[in-house]
């Protein structure tokens, strides 16, 4: 176990360094899109807590994204200390998540989906209508860039360093969670709620916890988005955008950490790559989403696991640890069916 942790951390450190290096040589446009992708990663990894680990369809992610972003921006525009505002915004988002989750998580399936979607519609209206507080549909302008001491993170390259660090942190948190005893228990209740509650797991408490964590990740993403663009408006957090995050985690693969990361990267980059198609690129993108789901219903991560298990496994037979890893993968596929 200790060796594994060491391997994981070394891999992550190397990956981080390589990515940082890449940011220096990449065109600023790609760094900018990568920044957006990193924010999407936080949103998707966060949403995966309640949807992937918890098995509950939440459509409130865009609303939480907005709550975090607006709370931070309003505070920071009143010249309060940046770091404090950021922490406060994340906590507020968590509290709202808790307050919504408490009653809403008694609902199941599509009822929960609609309740959370309705919450998204209401939040969108409030952001648009409370003009004195939120700046209305024009949004809030002139949000200052983050600063560490005297260093202003006012370029895409500098923001990338920060965003990458935070994204890595969220990914690591998600991995730790999924391997922890609590993570195991969430998997148990997702697969069979009745059985889980019979063995003494407090299912509702677990759900509310997952929902709150989801909300806080979205709140954090909101804070960083405001710092990245320097501008927010209700359009960014419209109820219809919540579907994007669902698409990300399902296309990537539910219930793991890699899935949402893959999904968020693809969801951000594919439309940018398709830009050369001009007017038709969004239609093509919609088609790509459908094909991905139909070809790999359990997500691309799942597709990778299946290919791995069927064809590549025997190549690595001699190494027992690899074999074990691939078994884990296939076993997991059965779970999610």
């Amino acid at each position: 176990m200790k060796r594994r942790i060491a391997v994981v951390s070394i891999t992550l450190i190397i990956a981080y360094t390589v990515l940082l290096f890449l940011a220096q040589v990449l065109d600023v446009y790609y760094v900018h899109v990568l920044n957006v992708a990193l924010i999407n990663i936080m949103l998707a990894v966060g949403l995966n807590f309640i949807v992937g680990f918890g098995g509950q369809i939440s459509m409130a992610q865009s609303a939480f994204f907005g709550i975090g972003s607006y709370t931070y921006s309003i505070l920071v525009l009143h010249h309060s200390p940046m770091l404090l505002d950021a922490v406060f915004a994340v906590i507020i988002t968590g509290i709202v998540g808790l307050a919504l989750g408490w009653p809403a998580l008694k609902l199941k399936g599509h009822y929960l989906a609609l309740a959370t979607l309705g919450f998204g519609v209401i939040m969108g209206e409030l952001m648009t209508n409370l003009e004195h507080i939120t700046g209305g549909a024009n949004g809030l302008t002139g949000i200052p860039p983050f600063s560490i001491g005297s260093l202003q993170l006012n370029t895409d390259g500098r923001m990338f360093v920060l965003l990458l660090a935070v994204a890595f942190l969220t990914v690591i948190l998600s991995i730790i969670f999924s391997k922890s005893p609590i993570g195991m228990r969430t998997r148990a209740f997702r697969d069979d709620e009745t059985a889980a509650s019979m063995v003494g797991i407090n299912v509702s408490l677990m759900k509310i916890m997952l929902f709150t964590v989801s909300a806080m990740f979205a709140g954090l993403a909101g804070v960083l988005y405001a710092g990245l663009l320097g501008y927010i408006s209700p359009d960014v957090f419209a109820w219809s955008t919540t579907f994007n995050y669902l698409v990300m985690i399902v296309v990537g693969g539910l219930g793991s950490t890699a899935g949402p990361v893959i999904g968020a990267l693809l969801f951000t980059f594919i439309p940018e790559w398709l830009r050369f198609l001009k007017d038709s690129y969004m239609a093509v993108f919609g088609l790509v989403v459908i094909i991905m789901i139909v070809v790999a219903p359990e997500g691309l991560k799942g597709l990778g696991a299946v290919v791995w298990a069927r064809h590549l496994k025997r190549l690595f037979r001699r190494n027992p640890e690899n074999l074990k890893a691939s078994r884990e993968g296939t076993a997991y596929e059965h779970h999610s069916n």
Binding site: G136, G139, D235, A305
Partner: protein, 381 residues
């Protein structure tokens, strides 16, 4: 676990490699690169289509005449999906850093223009926009030029007309709940307050609102003489249509939409009598506009509407600035744009004033027999 990590790393790597592969710059010393950020997809794609028509026409003209100093203009169109700050910032970043454009036309929507403003000043590239929200030029950003009538000026002119010429006493307000509608109605409220009038009823709707019955009944209950409406094409048409159906007889006075073809088509005979403040209408007997209409018609086989015309002018202003610019680079073009004085466009005479506004006059129109007729030319500071 291990596999998941490998997948993740592999993918991130692939993304980055893809990015490097796409890094090639397309800078060419022969061509002048101009970027256009417009809504080419989604709900507002029609605006992008019109923008494209107007801009392309102006560029075709100048390129056919040999370009500027022997250099052809090359256009780069990017989609910003209308009011989408994230996509707009991607599009503008791509234009200024990848395509090396020396100037940008658009974004057209305020929520797309506002995040782009900091990019334009950061990368020092001038942008010409048709976004009419006062907030656009209120930022004091020297790189932003507005080629349409500022809503705060337009609203003031419209209110003056409604109060002084139409003698409205009890005024109702209705607006679309977007940045366009909110800032427009804010300007209307301020102008009304200056005349000592408080609106007796204020209603709001969305672009997707289909039923205006409650709003119309509410205006009737408030006994309004007229309603000033700041909204987009579709709601304007539905509102007029349903007013007619319910037999409402207050006056309808509105933003530009109320003089444009979509409104006229959608509302049909219900459009008659509606007033509007606008910069451009079709079928204006003015020979300058007649010539423009036949020119446009010969290429696209239809009549030009407001956005095609406004952005045709925008492109021509930019071409004029390029011709008078000492060097073909962004800062020189910005200087040349600031020197635009009395440039004769199709719509009006454009003059730069500090803050970035280039248009200072408008038209009051009324729909008569299904066609908007100019009944007054108005101008303000």
């Amino acid at each position: 676990m291990k596999k998941a990590r490998k997948c993740l790393l592999g993918l991130v790597g692939a993304v980055c490699l893809g990015s490097i592969a796409g890094c090639g710059t397309n800078q060419s010393s022969k061509e002048i690169n101009i970027g256009v950020s417009a809504p080419l997809t989604g709900q507002f794609a029609q605006d992008g289509k019109y923008m494209k028509q107007g801009i392309q026409l102006a560029v075709n003209d100048v390129n056919a005449k040999g370009g500027i100093g022997g250099r052809q203009i090359k256009l780069f169109f990017e989609d910003d999906q209308g009011p989408n700050p994230t996509v707009a910032s991607n599009a503008v970043t791509k234009l200024v850093t990848q395509d090396n454009v020396v100037a940008v036309i658009g974004p057209h929507f305020s929520p797309a223009m506002l995040p782009a403003e900091s990019l334009f000043s950061k990368y020092k590239v001038p942008a010409l926009t048709g976004a009419t929200g006062p907030v656009i030029t209120a930022q004091g950003n020297p790189w932003i030029f507005r080629i349409r009538l500022n809503d705060s000026i337009g609203a003031k002119l419209l209110v003056q007309y409604a109060v002084n010429d139409l003698h409205l006493k009890r005024v109702g307000l209705d607006y679309v709940n977007t940045s366009f509608g909110q800032s427009g109605i804010q300007a209307v409220k301020q102008a009304l307050a200056a005349d000592g009038i408080t609106p007796v009823d204020i209603q709001t709707h969305d672009d997707s609102t289909k039923d205006f019955t409650s709003q119309i009944l509410s205006f009737e209950k408030a006994k309004v003489d007229g309603v000033i409406v700041w909204t987009d094409d579709q709601p304007s048409g539905l509102l007029a249509q349903q007013m007619k159906q319910l037999g409402a007889n207050f006056k309808l006075i509105g933003s530009t939409s109320f003089s444009q073809p979509p409104f006229l088509n959608l509302a049909g005979s219900a459009s008659n009598g509606a007033y509007a403040i606008t910069d451009f209408t079709q079928n204006n007997p003015d020979p300058r506009i007649q010539a423009w209409e036949s020119k446009f018609n010969s290429v696209y086989h239809t009549k030009p509407e407001l956005y095609a015309t406004a952005y045709y002018d925008a492109m021509n202003i930019l071409i004029d600035a390029l011709q008078h610019s000492s060097k073909v680079d962004a800062p020189s073009i910005q200087k040349a744009l600031e020197n635009i004085k009395n440039y004769q466009g199709v719509i009006t005479n454009y003059s730069y004033s500090s803050g970035g506004d280039m248009v200072h006059a408008g038209l009051i129109t009324q729909v008569q027999n299904g066609q908007p007729v100019v009944i007054k030319k108005v101008s303000g500071s």
